[in-house]
Symmetry: C2
Subunit: 191 residues, 2 copies
């Protein structure tokens, strides 16, 4: 089936309620076979970025912070939103220094993912920074409260496999740098 045969046609669109983080939109979408028109939610936003930062000794610079969605602290890679006018590399460098105080390093692009193409219209860009050094104080502003922790590759892998690190976008970035899983990674099913 071609992309054209799979594609729904947008017949109209209107703004939804105001929210932080997203511009909410409802699109009137025409089913490519039935012709039925259905309203579909879109959460439009800037792109996101996260990064794997390695010290000269090969430790990963990781962050712990309380996350308001899940309601507990998570262990993650540094990252955040790409501000208007920024490119993703500038955003990655900015987020790294703000959240951790680490700067410098040699930067490589690791690719991008769709956080959830069903309703998000943005991408999350992954970067690798090799050889970063702590040169500055952390500067998160009053809206964040972040603890920096350095982890060896073995510690990262263990934290992934025991579920301590389970933010999908952090895992996505880490998986492009480290071999995280024995495969297939069978686990006991949830209770």
């Amino acid at each position: 089936m071609t992309d054209d045969e799979l594609s729904w046609r947008r017949m109209g669109s209107h703004a939804g309620p105001r929210l932080p983080l997203f511009d909410v939109r409802f699109d009137d979408m025409e089913h490519p076979e039935s012709g039925e028109v259905l309203s579909r939610l879109v959460l439009s936003s800037v792109d996101w970025v996260n990064l794997v930062a390695l010290t000269p000794e090969g430790a990963s610079v990781m962050v712990r912070q309380y996350r308001f969605g899940v309601g507990y602290p998570t262990l993650e890679t540094p990252g955040g939103m790409v501000d208007p006018g920024e490119d993703s590399l500038t955003a990655a460098r900015r987020e790294l220094v703000e959240e951790t105080g680490f700067t410098g390093g040699t930067w490589s692009y690791l690719g991008a993912v769709e956080p959830n193409p069903a309703f998000h219209d943005n991408l999350c860009h992954h970067w690798l920074a090799e050889g970063v050094v702590r040169t500055r104080p952390q500067n998160t502003g009053g809206g964040e409260h972040i603890h920096v922790t350095l982890m060896s590759e073995a510690e990262v892998r263990a934290a992934v496999q025991d579920g301590t690190i389970r933010h999908a976008l952090a895992l996505s970035a880490l998986a492009r740098v480290f071999d995280l899983w024995p495969r297939p990674f069978r686990q006991p099913p949830p209770a």
Copy 2:
């Protein structure tokens, strides 16, 4: 820093505007050091599930469908929402047969990820189904339009590396079954 020292206290909460897919909520959260109270968005929802389904010949059962967030067809693993009262295995089996008509197989749990702990409160569960066979017609209902495609492991890996498959949650499931990346997976930066 302990989890307690990182944790914000919820001082209040109120419902936000009605949306499909999510219960929107605003929590009044107290910063653990400054004591400032900030309003934070939560998109509350059921858990999600996706799965890697392999035929007896080892082909992956993949789906192509137009995604309303990004506005183009994507190539993904089968998956969807865990309905109220379902467990994630039941949901995975249901989504597989609805989207593809494949049934049977030996099922293993691959673990769960937080789709985005910053504002989602749910998990996405990953399952592996080995030995599935097409026994039924596809039955997606009128709200979806899905093309099923069988791919070899080499084809999956190529589609991941060239960016054809870039749904973060699909990649997360696939990465627990297949070795997807040369590491580090350096790419040309975005234009």
